[in-house]
C-alpha cells in the first residue's frame, strides 16, 4: 500500500450554539486507500464530512489537501481540489439523461456548441470501467437507487477526483446493489483514488476498508488498520461511554396492558407487533432507516398501514388519521419539531392549544381558557420565555420541545409516542425532559420512545425493542440492556438475512 498522505485534518474544532461537536480532531487519508469512518448516530460523522466538503467552516484547525493548506473552504473550492462528496440523498438531475448528468457544469464544448458524441463516448467508457450496464442515454430518474449511486460515482470520477467521500451510500440498497457498489469502490481505489466511506453496516466496512477511524462524541477514538481490528473492538469503541454518569430514572410500578399493536406492515415496516403497559416506557432502538419513525407514523394514522390493528385498554380501535389517534388518547412527539411539531412563526400560546382543539366538538374557543392552558404548562415545565405570546422560533431547542410537549399534555392523552425526544437539546434541558417523562409514567401513562441515543434508551426504558430493516429483531429486558447488546442487534452483528 502506498503511504503518501493526500488529505489531512489537524486540530479541527467545531461547535454549534450550545453544543461542541468536535474538539481538536485529527484525521488523515492516504492515497488510494479506502478509509471507513464508524460511529453511532450523532457521533459527528456527517459534520466531519461537511467540514471536508466545505459546507461547514471549522472554528479552528487546518485542512491540507495534497500538501496544500486549504483556507476558507467552500464546496466549490473543495471540488476544485479534487474532493468530491456523494451525499446520502441523490444529488442528480432526475429528468436528464446519464451523460448530461455526468457533464452538468463541465460540458465539453467547441465554439459554444456541445460536443455531444464525445461526451457520450466518455460516459460509455466510464460506465464500462465501472462494470455498469447503464446506457448514457438512460433518464436518471428512471434508474434504480443503486444505479443512481453509480451515476454519482461516475460523475465524481469524471472530475478527476483525488478523494471521493461516500456518506451512507447503501442506505436504501438491495444486497446485489451493495455488492456492485463495493466492487466499484475497490476499483476506484486501485486507480489511486482515495475513498472515505461512511457506513452503519459493519460487514461492508470489514469487506472494503484499508483503515477504520472510530468517532464518538466528536472525538477520534482510534484509527486502525483493518487487519488489527475485530468486530468486538469496533463496537466497544463506538459505544464505550460512561453510562453510570447518566440520568437515573425513578422506578415506577408497571400496570396492565394499555396499548397493543398487532401485525403492522406498510410504509417500510413489516409484521411488527408489541404491547405497552401502563406506566411502562418501551424504547425502540435501531439504526437510521430501520423503520422506527415509519412505524410511529403508522400507529398514529399519519400514513396508511397495509395491515395492522390496535387495541387500547383491551378494546379494538380504528385509527385512520391523527384525529382518531388523538381521540383515543394518543400523542405523537415527532422527530423534527421544526417541520412537523410546531408552527414556528406562531406563539407558544397558539402552538400549545392547537392539538387540544381536536379533543372536543365545541366550535368556539375562549381566549382566556387558552391562555390559562398555555401558562399552566409553561410553568409546570419551566419554559424559559418572557410571555406565552413569544414566537416559538425565538425559543431554544429545549424550550421548543417543551412547547411541543405542552401541546400534547393539553390533550390529556394517555399513550405517548416520543420520536427522538432530546435531539439537538442541551444536557440540562434533556434532564428536565426525562423528569417530565418519568412524571408521565408515574401518572400511569404509557410511553413509546424512539431514540438513537444509547444512554438515553438504557436509562429510560423498561424494555428495548430493536428494529432492523423494518422488522422487530429483539425484545431486550432491563437486565440484559447493554449498549453492546443493543448495537449488536441493530447492525445485525455480522450475520445477515
Amino acid at each position: 500500500m502506498q503511504s503518501e498522505t493526500i488529505l489531512e485534518m489537524d486540530g479541527i474544532s467545531k461547535s454549534f450554539p450550545g453544543v461542541k461537536v468536535f474538539d481538536n480532531l485529527c484525521f488523515d487519508v492516504r492515497k488510494g486507500e479506502v478509509h471507513c469512518i464508524c460511529g453511532e448516530n450523532g457521533a459527528g460523522k456527517s459534520t466531519l464530512i461537511k467540514i471536508l466538503s466545505g459546507a461547514h467552516m471549522p472554528d479552528s484547525g487546518t485542512i491540507r489537501i495534497d500538501g496544500r493548506v486549504v483556507e476558507n473552504n467552500t464546496p466549490h473550492l473543495a471540488m476544485g481540489l479534487g474532493v468530491q462528496t456523494i451525499y446520502q440523498e441523490h444529488n442528480l438531475f432526475p429528468l436528464l439523461s446519464v451523460y448530461e448528468n455526468l457533464f452538468a457544469g463541465n460540458e465539453y464544448t467547441k465554439g459554444g456548441l456541445l460536443r455531444k458524441s464525445e461526451m457520450v463516448q466518455k460516459t460509455s467508457e466510464i460506465l464500462a470501467f465501472l462494470n455498469s450496464d447503464i446506457s448514457p442515454f438512460d433518464i436518471v430518474g428512471q434508474l434504480g437507487s443503486g444505479e443512481q449511486k453509480t451515476v454519482e460515482v461516475a460523475r465524481a470520477f469524471i472530475k478527476e477526483s483525488k478523494v471521493i467521500i461516500l456518506d451512507e451510500p447503501t442506505a436504501s440498497f438491495s444486497q446485489a446493489e451493495i455488492k456492485n457498489l463495493l466492487h466499484i469502490v475497490k476499483k476506484l481505489s486501485s486507480e489511486g483514488i482515495s475513498i472515505i466511506y461512511i457506513s452503519h453496516h459493519l460487514e461492508e466496512v470489514f469487506e472494503i476498508a484499508d483503515r477504520v477511524t472510530v468517532i464518538r462524541d466528536g472525538m477520534k477514538i482510534n484509527t486502525y488498520n483493518i487487519k488489527d481490528l475485530d468486530e468486538c473492538t469496533l463496537i466497544n469503541d463506538m459505544v464505550g461511554r460512561d453510562v453510570c454518569s447518566f440520568f437515573n430514572r425513578e422506578k415506577v410500578d408497571i400496570g396492565g396492558i394499555k396499548f397493543e399493536a398487532t401485525d403492522f406492515s406498510g410504509n417500510g415496516v413489516s409484521n411488527v407487533s408489541f404491547v405497552v403497559r401502563e406506566g411502562e416506557l418501551v424504547g425502540f432502538s435501531g439504526m437510521v432507516g430501520a423503520g422506527r419513525s415509519e412505524l410511529a407514523e403508522l400507529l398514529f394514522g399519519v400514513k396508511k398501514a397495509d395491515t395492522g390493528s390496535i387495541k387500547i385498554d383491551g378494546k379494538d380501535v380504528r385509527i385512520d388519521s391523527p384525529i382518531d389517534a388523538i381521540l383515543n388518547g394518543m400523542c405523537f412527539i415527532t422527530e423534527d419539531r421544526q417541520s412537523t411539531g410546531l408552527s414556528l412563526q406562531h406563539s407558544i400560546l397558539s402552538n400549545s392549544n392547537i392539538a387540544m382543539y381536536s379533543k372536543d366538538n365545541k366550535r368556539f374557543v375562549k381566549p382566556s381558557d387558552d391562555l390559562r392552558v398555555a401558562q399552566k404548562y409553561c410553568k409546570s415545565m419551566n419554559v424559559v420565555s418572557p410571555t406565552v405570546h413569544q414566537k416559538v422560533s425565538l425559543l431554544s431547542g429545549g424550550n421548543q420541545q417543551k412547547v411541543v410537549l405542552a401541546k400534547w399534555f393539553a390533550t390529556n392523552g394517555s399513550i405517548y409516542i416520543f420520536d427522538e425526544p432530546t435531539r439537538g437539546i442541551d444536557i440540562g434541558a434533556k434532564e428536565e425532559i426525562y423528569k417530565i417523562m418519568t412524571q408521565l409514567l408515574k401518572e400511569g401513562k404509557s410511553i413509546i420512545m424512539i431514540s438513537s441515543d444509547m444512554p438515553e434508551l438504557i436509562a429510560m426504558s423498561d424494555r428495548v425493542l430493536v428494529m432492523r430493516k423494518g422488522r422487530l429483531v429483539a425484545d431486550i429486558p432491563k437486565d440484559e440492556m447493554t449498549e453492546e447488546n443493543i448495537l449488536k442487534f441493530s447492525i445485525g452483528g455480522g450475520s445477515d438475512d
Binding site: 453544543v19 399519519v302 388519521s321 408552527s343 412563526q345 366550535r363 425559543l395
Partner: protein, 354 residues
C-alpha cells in the same frame, strides 16, 4: 427609582421600534405616509383652484364615495384574507365576481324568477365554483396559484358566453344592497354596502378570534404537517375555506350589479390585483399564517384613498396601474426587509446540529 424608570422607558421604546419594524405595521405605515402626501398635494392644487372644488378629497361627499367604492374590494379582501392565511391564493375572484354578476343580471332581466331565488342561485353558484376549485387544490399538490389562474380564464369565458360582450341592464330592479343609504347630511351618506362590509369584517374578526376554525386557520397556514398531526383534517379544511371565499364573492357581485344597475362583461377585470394588493399591504403574508382582517380593511381603504387622490390630482388613470403594482412590490419588499433583519438576529438560535 429613577434608574428603574429609565430602564422601563427604554424597554418601552424598544418595544415600539420593534412594533414599527414588524412586517404588517411597516408596510401600512409606508402607505399611510404616501396617502398623507397625496392628500396634502391634492389640497395644495385645490387651493390654487386647479381642480373641481366639489371633488376635494376631504369633503364629506368624497369620503362617502370612497367608502362606497372600496366596499366591493373590501368584501372580496375578507375572503382573500382567509384563503391567504391558510397559505393559498385565489386569482379567480375578480372574474368569478363578474360571472356571478352577469348571471344574476341576466336572470333578473329575464324576469321570470322571484328575486330571492335569483339571490340564492347567485350565492350557491359562487360557492359551488369555489368548492370545485378547493377540491382540486386540497386533494392534489397543485399550486393554488396556477389552478385559480385557470379558473379565472374559465369564468371569463362564461362571462362572454352569457353577455356576448354586451352589458345587461337591469334598471332599478335590484337596488337595495348597493344603493340604499343612511343620509347623515345631504352630502355624507353611509351606503348599505359599507355597512355590510363593516359588519362582515367584524363577524370574521370575531370568528377568527373566538372559534376553533379561526385558530386553526393560522396553524394550517403556518405549518401544514404539524396541523395535520395535531388532528386537523387539513384537506377538508382547505375545501371549506375556498367555499367560504365563494360566499364573499357572491356578496361582492350583488353589490356590484346593484350599484351599476348593469351586469357588464368587464366588471371584475383586474379586481383580483386590487384585492391581493390590499391584503398584502394590510400585512397578510403570502406564505400564510400571518395577518388579519383589520389589516385587509386598512389596506383596502388606503389603496382606495390613493386611487381617489390620484383622480383628484388629475393623474392619467393608466398611471394608477403602475402605482398599484409598484405598491405591491414595495410593501412585500418592506416586509421581506424587516423580516430579514429579525432573522439575522435569531439565526444563531435556530441553527441546529446536522
Amino acid at each position: 427609582m429613577i434608574k428603574k424608570d429609565l430602564v422601563n422607558e427604554k424597554k418601552w421604546e424598544n418595544a415600539l421600534t420593534k412594533k414599527l419594524m414588524h412586517h404588517e405595521n411597516s408596510s401600512i405605515l409606508f402607505v399611510l405616509l404616501l396617502v398623507i402626501a397625496l392628500v396634502v398635494l391634492a389640497e395644495f392644487f385645490l387651493a390654487r383652484g386647479m381642480v373641481f372644488k366639489d371633488l376635494a378629497f376631504l369633503s364629506s361627499r368624497n369620503i362617502s364615495s370612497v367608502l362606497q367604492q372600496v366596499s366591493i374590494t373590501g368584501i372580496l379582501a375578507i375572503g382573500m384574507t382567509l384563503v391567504m392565511l391558510m397559505g393559498g391564493i385565489d386569482l379567480s375572484v375578480g372574474q368569478l365576481m363578474g360571472f356571478i354578476g352577469v348571471l344574476m343580471a341576466s336572470l333578473i332581466k329575464a324576469g321570470n324568477l322571484p328575486m330571492w331565488s335569483i339571490v340564492l342561485i347567485g350565492m350557491s353558484t359562487a360557492i359551488v365554483c369555489e368548492l370545485l376549485m378547493g377540491l382540486i387544490i386540497s386533494r392534489t399538490k397543485l399550486e393554488s396559484f396556477i389552478v385559480s389562474l385557470g379558473f379565472m380564464s374559465i369564468y371569463q369565458g362564461f362571462i362572454y358566453l352569457i353577455t356576448n360582450g354586451r352589458e345587461i341592464s337591469i334598471g332599478d330592479k335590484f337596488e337595495f344592497i348597493g344603493k340604499t343609504s343612511i343620509n347623515i347630511t345631504s352630502n355624507f351618506k353611509i351606503f348599505s354596502s359599507v355597512i355590510l362590509y363593516v359588519l362582515l369584517t367584524v363577524i370574521v374578526w370575531l370568528a377568527i378570534k373566538y372559534t376553533k376554525f379561526g385558530r386553526r386557520l393560522y396553524f394550517v397556514g403556518g405549518n401544514e404537517n404539524s396541523a395535520f398531526l395535531a388532528g386537523i383534517g387539513v384537506k377538508n379544511f382547505k375545501l371549506w375555506v375556498y367555499g367560504l371565499n365563494g360566499f364573499f364573492v357572491s356578496i361582492a357581485s350583488m353589490i356590484m350589479i346593484s350599484r351599476l344597475s348593469t351586469g357588464g362583461p368587464n366588471m371584475g377585470q383586474g379586481k383580483e390585483i386590487d384585492v391581493i394588493a390590499s391584503v398584502v399591504v394590510g400585512g397578510t403574508a403570502m406564505s400564510g399564517g400571518k395577518g388579519n382582517v383589520w389589516g385587509a380593511l386598512i389596506g383596502v381603504i388606503l389603496l382606495g384613498c390613493i386611487s381617489n387622490a390620484l383622480n383628484i390630482l388629475g393623474v392619467n388613470p393608466y398611471y394608477q396601474y403602475v402605482m398599484k403594482g409598484g405598491l405591491i412590490v414595495l410593501s412585500v419588499f418592506i416586509g421581506y426587509y424587516s423580516g430579514l433583519r429579525k432573522k439575522s438576529k435569531t439565526r444563531l438560535n435556530q441553527r441546529s446540529i446536522a
